[in-house]
């Protein structure tokens, strides 16, 4: 943390091999997130009760929330994408939430991971659009009710905005997670450095600690919100692909 007087806020993102392979702690956390997601549903639904208990209620609520997200945003066709959106949402949600625990690695704070997810989402959206609409899909880039003279200007903008989803979706998640974790690290280091600097600095150290407590709560909000944003934007893009405009 506080090495030689400077704050090392970034080494928490450093990948370390586990088991001596190219398998990293990032992938370990992915497996933990996957096990938690699967476990929530599998153990939650084991009673198969007519009147659900707590864990079963949680599992059913997770199912119905994501299903509602799909069918309300995409339409009746959304049921086909429900398993994918569910996997995506909980993969990101548990990745974000696990990262709030001290010493746990946050794989959603890696642009490579969020970009890979985004590339898959945009690729899926494009494939779905082409399979449903064929070449008519290209009309998506032609805004309706616009004079023809403006089209040479607007079509490239539309294509650009379509491609910029790759950046906006991946960077939004990555930057939110990274910024939160950097701030936690910085204020944590403040507490240690100020606390060690002398009694006089204990007041600002206490303030830093209070900020960190607030930040943890804030991080929980951001973790959930960003997972939701990622999933709902995926649904909106899929809606565009299914319905074109």
């Amino acid at each position: 943390m506080a090495a030689g007087g400077s704050i090392d806020a970034l080494s928490q993102f450093k990948l370390e091999p586990v088991l001596g392979l190219d398998f990293t702690q990032s992938n370990v956390m992915m497996i933990v997130a996957g096990v938690l997601t699967f476990g929530l549903l599998w153990l939650g639904m084991r009673p198969r009760a007519m009147v659900p208990g707590r864990l079963q209620s949680a599992a059913e609520m997770a199912y119905e929330t994501v299903l509602g997200m799909c069918t309300e945003t995409i339409g009746p066709e959304g049921r086909a994408f429900f398993p994918f959106v569910f996997t995506l949402f909980f993969f990101i949600l548990f990745g974000n939430l696990l990262g709030v625990f001290p010493f746990f690695f946050t794989y959603t704070s890696h642009i490579a991971v969020t970009l890979a997810l985004t590339v898959f989402v945009v690729g899926l959206v494009t494939v779905v659009a082409i399979r449903i609409h064929g070449w008519h899909f290209l009309s998506y880039f032609v805004p309706q009710g616009v004079p023809g003279a403006l089209l040479p200007l607007l079509v490239p903008i539309e294509i650009l905005s379509y491609l910029s989803r790759l950046i906006s979706l991946s960077v939004r998640l990555f930057a939110n997670m990274m910024a939160g974790h950097v701030m936690l690290e910085v204020f944590g280091a403040f507490v240690v450095m100020l606390g060690a600097a002398g009694v006089i600095f204990w007041i600002p150290a206490g303030f830093s600690l209070a900020v960190n407590v607030a930040l943890i709560g804030f991080e929980l909000l951001v973790a959930t919100l960003q997972a939701y944003v990622f999933a709902i934007l995926t649904c909106i893009y899929l809606h565009d692909a299914v319905h074109l405009h």
């Binding site: 997601t37 699967f38 993969f91």
Partner: protein, 193 residues
């Protein structure tokens, strides 16, 4: 995404970041020279696909089955309740109909009995009246007969009495024709006979 109060903190972090980055030689996330940066993506893709298959084949259908079963059960229960309500409504209507029918029958029976009683009473009254009328007439006839016989007797008595009186007074038998005439006139003036 950050609220306003946290903006200074974010700025502080951004100021501190480059220093930290210099110290460590850049963000580990952008260190693509490190093979681990991309290998986590390949492993991640594998984990994601396995998770997708497990969820879509095993876990999610399990939840869906239970939810469907519950929805079916609730719908069936509602249907049963609806049917039971229909049956109870029909039974209540039947009871109300039966009551109304019984009441109407009872009313009709009462009316019939009342009518019959009235008719009988009227018949009896008529018979009684008839009998009384007849008795009255008989009585009147008897009175009339008695009166007539009495009147006839009166004339005889008056004639005899007058004849006797005249015979005693005069010593001669009365002129029967004159006597009859005088008696008749006297009776006529008294409106008797």
């Amino acid at each position: 995404m950050l609220p306003r109060t946290l903006l200074p903190l974010a700025l502080l972090a951004t100021v501190l970041l480059p220093a930290a980055a210099r110290a460590e030689g850049g963000m580990p996330q952008l260190d693509f020279a490190n093979p681990l940066t991309l290998s986590q993506v390949w492993w991640g893709a594998l984990i994601f696909i396995v998770l997708y298959v497990l969820l879509s084949r095993l876990a999610l259908p399990r939840v869906g089955e239970v939810l469907e079963e519950r929805a079916r059960r609730i719908a069936a229960d509602l249907e049963t309740a609806q049917a039971a309500k229909g049956r109870s409504d029909a039974a209540a209507k039947e009871v109300a109909d039966a009551t109304a029918r019984a009441r109407a029958e009872a009313q009709a029976a009462i009316n019939a009995a009342l009518d019959a009683a009235k008719q009988e009473a009227a018949g009896r009254i008529a018979a009684l009246n008839q009998r009384l009328e007849k008795q009255l007439q008989d009585a009147e006839a008897q009175i009339e007969a008695a009166r007539a016989s009495a009147m006839r007797a009166l004339r005889e008595v008056a004639t005899e009495t007058a004849g006797t009186v005249i015979a005693r007074l005069t010593g001669a038998p009365p002129d029967q024709a004159r006597l009859d005439g005088a008696i008749g006139a006297a009776l006529a003036t008294r409106r008797i006979g």
